[in-house]
Amino acid sequence: MLEVKNLSKVFTVGLFSRHRIEAVKNVSMNVSRGEIVSLVGESGSGKTTLCRMILRLLEPTSGSIKYDGVDVTRLKGKKLKWYWRKVHGVFQDPYASFHPFYRVEHILYQAFNLLPGLSEEEKKIRVHEALKMVGLNPEEVLGKYPHELSGGMRQRIAIARCFILDPELIVADEPVSMLDASTRVGIIKLFSDLRDRMNSSVIFVTHDIGLAYVVSDRVLIMYKGVIVEEGDPLTVMDNPSHPYTRRLREDVPLLYRKWEGF
């Protein structure tokens, strides 16, 4: 469904020295229908840059992105809107992507800008159903402002937007890293719900190898802008081939095994 080929992004920074940062280097990856793929890597490894290119929020320096066989790398206008209906982003802090002056109701109705042709009645039904799907009571939250909700509730609203739009691919960039462990699980389950109910695919970005291991069908390990390893999570953890992955496995604290010498 999604085919990324030789995608790169170079940032040039500095006024005089023009320093080059190769944030993403020649990355190729695929995502199939209904698949949950995790992208794991340390801070600064290029995960967000890659996501933003896939979401067409950032222009790639080179390479291509194909969706259902269509080259979307340079789509514009109406065609780009078509792509944005199918591919939707969820970010680390939904607060930053919500307008603070708008109530939840308005924030959710904005989604219909990408979904023309629905009657008011249909919109209302979709909003209410989406909120129930993410475990929120519409009467309780629709009139609230983002700052009146907890981080977990805001993330639920962001996911409710996915249920409204019914996207085929969700790109979730660290959607639970600001949340508590106990709240995290509820949110992660919503992504697998989206997959199970709507057969959506999910790209899950995280620096938490444990999370990736538990939720995904496939993991991609990113290191310094490059995807250095990929496979099903059990194989990657049992048999890591890249030194970074090996270090990750050795250093991540486990629950059922104790570190040697500790």
Partner: protein, 328 residues
């Protein structure tokens, strides 16, 4: 049995605000034995950092202590003035690395100047002696000795945290209290910091550690005992392995089911979400504070509050499911 290093009894403390009282520590008993690493876990906002401040007698408005007793090495801290505590306790008997320490150091001073500021009131040592004391300590812990002449920002996050911990314990206090010391670090750096703290204990620089974190896998690696906190109260405590592998309180069980580690056991066990949201400490639920989210809730849980009772083998739990066991 030797007397515990730190003992807090019947502790109650609130943030007194105009809109009401945030009862962040609401009837807590806690003990740190000698030669132990005690973990304090619980979700964000449950009162962990507040409890730590209370235990160190570091109480400033709007935080107010309502009742309780704190015995550190047999001395009651609440009987002392703040000035006395500052002189005789902090840095001497107990060192504290607060939650935001990593970014809270004065950026305009070199590490060694920070050490001197902190230490002069406690020791007659000359500047020269302090420098050599620092160097010896850093060497002992395999840290680069030249870091004392650097500014905080010149050290990487992990190195800065290790240096902070190493020099804050220069006077060999018996207890080290650390609040989320590794939450901002990547896993490899985290492991180095954890290892260094355990080395300090092995080398007898300190006797015990009180380790605050919401990350259970970290506690599994380092702690000998754990306390689980929920909404201002301790709901379960005991030796780490028995709490981890045989949790008794429904909240502890739920926490275990939300841990995600890259192990086959975790995948097989699956994930279970805790329904609902953590309660407000301004208006906590009646009865058992966990009852609105508890899958085992009974009638009594809505009206009465379960006490924290010992259930044998050094364990205790605050849940009516286990009170009946004790009775029968």
């Amino acid at each position: 049995m030797s007397e515990p290093l730190l003992l807090g009894l019947g502790l109650r403390a609130s943030y007194v605000l105009r809109i009401g009282e945030v009862r962040a520590v609401d009837g807590v008993d806690i003990e740190v034995p000698r030669d132990a690493v005690v973990g304090l876990a619980g979700e964000s906002g449950c009162g962990k950092s507040t409890l730590v401040n209370v235990l160190l007698a570091n109480i400033r408005p709007p935080l107010r202590i309502k009742s309780g007793k704190i015995l550190l090495d047999g001395v009651d801290l609440l009987e002392m003035s703040r000035e006395e505590v500052r002189k005789k306790v902090w840095g001497v008997k107990v060192s504290y690395v607060p939650q935001s320490a990593l970014n809270a150091l004065n950026p305009t001073k070199r590490i060694i100047e920070l050490v001197k500021d902190a230490i002069t009131q406690h020791t007659p040592a000359t500047d020269q002696e302090v420098v050599s004391l620092c160097k010896r300590r850093l060497e002992e812990l395999n840290l680069p000795t030249d870091s004392i002449h650097k500014y905080p920002h010149e050290l990487s996050g992990g190195m800065r945290q290790r240096v902070i911990i190493a020099i804050s314990t220069l006077l060999n206090p018996r207890l080290l209290v650390v609040d989320e010391p590794t939450s901002a670090l990547d896993v490899s750096t985290q492991k180095q910091v954890l290892k260094m703290m355990l080395d300090m204990k092995r080398n007898r620089i300190i006797d015990s550690i009180l380790f605050v974190t919401h990350e259970l896998p970290v506690l599994r690696q380092v702690s000998s005992h754990v306390y689980i906190m929920y909404a201002g109260k301790i709901v379960e405590y005991g030796p780490a392995d028995s709490v981890f592998f045989n949790p008794l309180h429904p909240y502890t069980k739920a926490l275990m089911y939300s841990v995600m580690t890259p192990e086959p056991e975790t995948r097989e066990r699956g994930l279970v979400a805790i329904p609902g949201e953590p309660p407000s400490l301004l208006m906590p639920p009646q009865g058992c504070r966990f009852h609105p989210r508890c899958p085992y809730v009974m009638d009594i849980c809505r009206s009465s509050e379960p006490r924290l009772v010992p259930v044998g083998e050094g364990r205790g739990v605050a849940c009516f499911l286990h009170h009946s066991e004790v009775a029968s």
